[in-house]
Symmetry: C2
Subunit: 196 residues, 2 copies
DNA sequence: TAAGGTTCCTAACGTTCGTTAGCAAGCGTA
DNA sequence: TACGCTTGCTAACGAACGTTAGGAACCTTA
């Protein structure tokens, strides 16, 4: 068992439906019977495909973590580029991952608390590593005199906060394409609201 | 019954403990037995003081909504002031409410989904009204040539997003006093990260 | 002392929860 | 045809859930 690619279709379907339910009702408030009904089958049948409810949450959260890291790595790959430019790319990559799967992003951002140990601790460590990446970019941007802020850690949190609120209001069918959203977000965060 | 001020102390104690638990474990994942144990009594005893678990969530959410509106009204009371200044005050008021009771703020921001109807709909309407207040300030700031943005609604969402992430990392015992946090947040959001 | 209110208890209710066991139908491959 | 794999079913398990009923101890006020 656990070979390369058997039984991926039905499992993926369960993941997707679970993601949508976890997003709107929350992990704890979503029952396996609800999930089963949304898929058109009985609760017990789910366990032919998954091991537990916890496993679903685990897969959703860590898959997205992988996506964020991959995007960040790509955005900061060209280290010859100024840090401020790399930061803008990292912001746009972050937004791209968020908009690519809004439901999974919302779960990733809000439902990770319900991960059982040791996954929860592992998740938080990953999150911290990711934030540290942004912090370093901002720090280097300041050294290169392209950015300014009184508190790097503070600025990092605020920046990611703005980005991470996106899944609460973003609608894939909205008029703004993800790339445009990413661009505007980066503009507003880097240039501010005030007229110079 | 339901007179002016009988039995307020124990009830308030329950509210406070429930707020802390709802924040860390989430509303759905917090059981009345857990809540009772945290207060040093049995589950059934809670119902001498409250009507239901739902009532607890309702009170927490709507009390904070009141606080936000009161703060906003005070911040924008002097309509002779430029909109950009009123906006800064409104931001600082928002941060003040958030930091005054971080646990309740976190519940307000994340657990309102579990309000049952019609409270949930009512809550969302209040939230929209509050956001509209900020939107109007930004709009007027643009007309008065003190602010600039390509999309008012967009800027409003981003601004509130930065503020609302605060309860996830703010520690009352931290080195920065709330007023300083409010000031820095307003600065970063209004002036941006980039060097002019 | 009597009355009323507050606070908390024990015990239990009906329901829902995540999960398991055992079985059967359908499938493609040998 | 026979095999193994996938997919799904029914039925049930023990546990936990929110909530209620009924009673007891305590405090204050009359």
């Amino acid at each position: 068992m656990e070979a390369t690619a058997p039984t991926l279709s039905r499992k993926a379907q369960i993941d997707q439906t679970a993601t949508a339910l976890f997003r709107t009702r929350g992990f704890a408030a979503t029952s396996m019977r609800e999930l089963a009904e949304a898929l058109g089958l009985e609760a017990g049948s789910l366990y032919s495909h998954i091991k537990s409810k916890q496993e679903l949450l685990h897969r959703i959260c860590f898959r997205l973590a992988d996506d964020f890291f991959a995007g960040f790595a790509a955005a900061t790959h060209d280290s010859a580029e100024p840090a401020a430019v790399q930061l803008r790319w990292a912001i746009e990559s972050h937004v791209r991952v968020l908009t690519q799967d809004v439901a999974a992003s919302a779960v990733f951002l809000h439902e990770w608390r319900h991960l059982s140990e040791p996954a929860r601790t592992e998740f938080l460590a990953l999150r911290e590593r990711y934030e540290a990446g942004f912090r370093l970019l901002i720090q280097r941007g300041i050294e290169q005199n392209d950015l300014r802020t009184s508190d790097t850690a503070f600025a990092t949190l605020t920046l990611l906060a703005s980005l991470n609120w996106l899944p609460t209001w973003y609608k894939p069918e909205g008029k703004l394409p993800p790339s445009e959203i990413a661009h505007r977000l980066a503009d507003q965060l880097l240039l501010g609201l005030a007229n110079s």
